[in-house]
């Protein structure tokens, strides 16, 4: 099998031999969509939903306004691959190869040490799902969406596709047609889930498309922190990851969604993430993008109820051959809502980072406060950085601020650190770590350590 070393220090680039029990033929057609739905034994409404989405996907044009997507070939891809017979709650029940993968990624150890629940997806299906017993007793639900469709059909039917309809964009339509796996989370009123729930997504097969679907519902006054991590092996041909994440934050609830995206550099990562926040609810996105060839992802929040709040922290790092087109969107529909977006990006070795954002204030939304801050660091001559924010303001009783800067690491600062005995590399690394500190300090400690280490690896051999 062809295997190239594009990314010498990508430590998750290993792959296991592909063993699957069911795989759809290459390419996408109506028949494939029907095949997936039949194989999953779904209710009729879901099959219809998928087929409608497939039609939308065929009609919609590729987005032309963002990153270069010409490397995606929809006909060369596999849309569904089931790696094992069933999902389990015991790591030891997993087929050896899959278990080995997750052991190497350190997931079982992390679960023991500091997580309230873990879901692990391998290609198209969730193979492992488990949550602490006390949370199960409180009525918290954490499962894959297929299971939720069987066990909580009303909740799924009520909310599925309501935040992101299949007509939203081409890739949301694609996901709606062939989705598989992902997480379903329901937190009952007043329940505080104090340790994070984590989902881990792994693409193993070559030319694979992963289309997980996540639906999180935080009932009134509840709290949950959901963390996702992603890695894939290094193949010469491109893989596609196109997820849809829908979050409903009901009155007074708070949801934090943290992503540490570290796909290998042959993955197109085109994800639609959106939350609706009702009265006095808080939605927080913490979005870290390090891997992938191209990422296009703009986590958004619709503030639908008085006093709702949105916080978006976005961190992107682009190296050789990478384009991170990330950002955030906030739509203020209700009065007295507030939002805060902080974006930090670093481009090096010819990488390109773009911030793309939207801030929209509806005419009924008075008393709105919003602040957006984008900072970019360019570490060398070959790299590039862009900022594309849009502000549409239809109400006078608002206070809106936007600020963006692009710069390099200051020579004076580097000189000072070197005069204190640091090498140029150490000094640059220290500056970069200081630059992203406002975001890293929001992460759970274990992830903060991981992120700092990732940056150290990425920056090896680069001098300011």
């Amino acid at each position: 099998m062809s295997f190239i070393q594009i990314q010498p220090d990508y430590q998750y680039g290993f792959k296991d031999t592909e063993a699957h029990i069911f795989k759809t033929p290459k390419g996408l057609s109506r028949a494939i969509v029907e095949m997936i739905s039949r194989y999953k034994n779904e209710p009729q409404w879901m099959l219809e939903y998928r087929l409608h989405a497939y039609d939308v996907f065929c009609k919609k044009k590729m987005p032309h306004w963002g990153a270069d997507l010409s490397g995606i070939n929809f006909d060369e891809m596999y849309y569904y691959l089931k790696p094992t017979e069933r999902s389990t709650q015991e790591w030891s029940d997993l087929p050896k190869d899959i278990k080995k993968t997750f052991d190497r990624l350190g997931i079982p150890q992390m679960e023991q040490d500091f997580l309230a629940g873990v879901g692990a997806q391998y290609d198209s299906e969730v193979v492992y799902h488990n949550m602490r017993k006390e949370l199960v007793d409180l009525g918290v639900v954490f499962s894959d969406v297929e299971t939720a469709m069987r066990e909580h059909p009303d909740l799924v039917k009520q909310y599925f596709g309501t935040v992101i309809p299949s007509g939203d964009n081409k890739f949301a339509a694609l996901n709606s047609a062939v989705w598989s796996g992902g997480s379903f989370v329901y937190v009952p009123p007043g329940v505080q889930v104090n340790t994070p729930l984590q989902a881990y997504f792994r693409i193993n097969a070559q030319n694979m498309g992963q289309f997980e679907r996540t639906l999180i519902i935080a009932d009134e006054g509840s709290f949950v922190h959901y963390v996702e991590g992603c890695t894939a092996p290094i193949y010469q041909s491109a893989s596609l990851h196109s997820a849809v994440v829908e979050i409903i934050v009901l009155r007074g609830a708070r949801v934090r969604y943290t992503t540490v995206q570290n796909w290998s550099k042959n993955v197109y990562n085109l994800v639609t993430k959106r939350a609706v926040a009702y009265e006095d609810a808080t939605m927080e996105w913490v979005d870290g993008n390090f891997g992938s060839r191209v990422t296009m992802k703009y986590p958004s929040v619709y503030l639908m109820g008085k006093g709702a709040r949105a916080d978006i922290l976005s961190l992107a790092m682009a190296g050789e051959g990478q384009h991170q087109d990330a950002g955030g969107k906030v739509v203020h529909v209700a009065p007295l809502t507030t939002s805060h977006i902080v974006s930090k990006s670093i481009s090096h070795h010819g990488g390109r980072t773009s911030y793309r954002g939207l801030l929209k204030i509806h005419p009924e939304a008075y008393g709105v406060k919003s602040n957006v801050q984008c900072d970019a660091l360019i570490l060398d001559e070959a790299s590039r950085s862009d900022t594309y924010p849009v502000m549409e303001i239809d109400n006078d009783d608002v206070s809106i601020g936007h600020e963006a800067t692009v710069s390099k690491i200051g020579t004076e600062q580097l000189f000072y650190l070197q005069s204190r005995g640091l090498s140029p590399q150490e000094a640059s690394l220290m500056m970069v770590n200081g630059f992203i500190e406002p975001i890293v300090k929001e992460l759970p400690l274990e992830y903060a350590v991981e992120m700092n280490r990732l940056i150290e690896l990425e920056m090896e051999g680069s001098v300011g």
């Binding site: 970019a376 060398d380 001559e381 900022t387 303001i393 206070s399 936007h402 963006a404 800067t405 692009v406």
Partner: protein, 206 residues
């Protein structure tokens, strides 16, 4: 407005009253300086009818060669149902070029103003310095504002930044003036004048 070329080492002041909508390019040769002001007449002579139903659109591109400098300012007072759109691209082509942009807008009644401001810095334009600022005051529920400050930076040894704010008149400022015996309407006018004066005072008197 026609296309303009500023010769090497020359300095040019352009005052644009927005009279005719259209597109223009200002090219600034090495060590040249351009000072451009967009001041539609309604700012100078506010009148109850002027601006009504008008649509003013200007698309301006400023190209800066090595060591060229540009100061780009705008003051817009949008009343009634008038509509202003300003599309600006400041394109840094050569090294050590500098640009500073300040656009201020006041939105009254059912007016709408759109400001698109792009700073582009090409690879050869190292050691360039660019700053863009867009400040909007909205005075009516029905006034609308859109602001799109953008950056496309391909050189690493540069400084580029922008800032944009939208809000209404600070209640504390109004309260202070009223406590000094100034009527609310007049106080509001004074604050608007002061707000736009930051741009107006930069226009050379000759």
């Amino acid at each position: 407005m026609n296309n303009i070329c500023v010769n090497p080492n020359d300095e040019l002041v352009v005052v644009d009253d927005g009279g005719v909508s259209g597109e223009a390019v200002i090219t600034v040769e090495p060590f040249g300086v351009v000072r451009y002001f967009f001041v539609p007449t309604s700012v100078i002579v506010p009148s109850p009818t002027l601006g009504e139903g008008t649509m003013t659109r200007r698309t301006l591109r400023v190209e800066l060669h090595a060591d060229a400098r540009a100061e780009i300012c705008g003051a817009v007072l949008a009343e009634h149902d008038s509509h202003y759109q300003f599309n600006l691209t400041v394109h840094h082509l050569g090294p050590r070029s500098q640009s500073k942009t300040l656009f201020k807008g006041v939105g009254k009644d059912a007016s709408k103003q759109v400001f698109n401001g792009m700073i582009k810095i090409d690879k050869p334009a190292q050691q360039s310095n660019a700053f863009l600022e867009n400040r909007v005051l909205l005075l009516s529920k029905h006034a609308k504002s859109e602001s799109k400050p953008e950056l496309e930076i391909e050189a690493n040894d540069v400084k580029a930044s922008h800032a944009a704010t939208t809000g209404r008149i600070d209640d504390r400022q109004l309260f202070y003036l009223q406590s000094r015996g100034i009527e609310k309407a007049l106080a509001q006018e004074m604050i608007i004048k002061g707000f736009l004066f930051e741009v107006m005072k930069l226009i050379p008197q000759s």
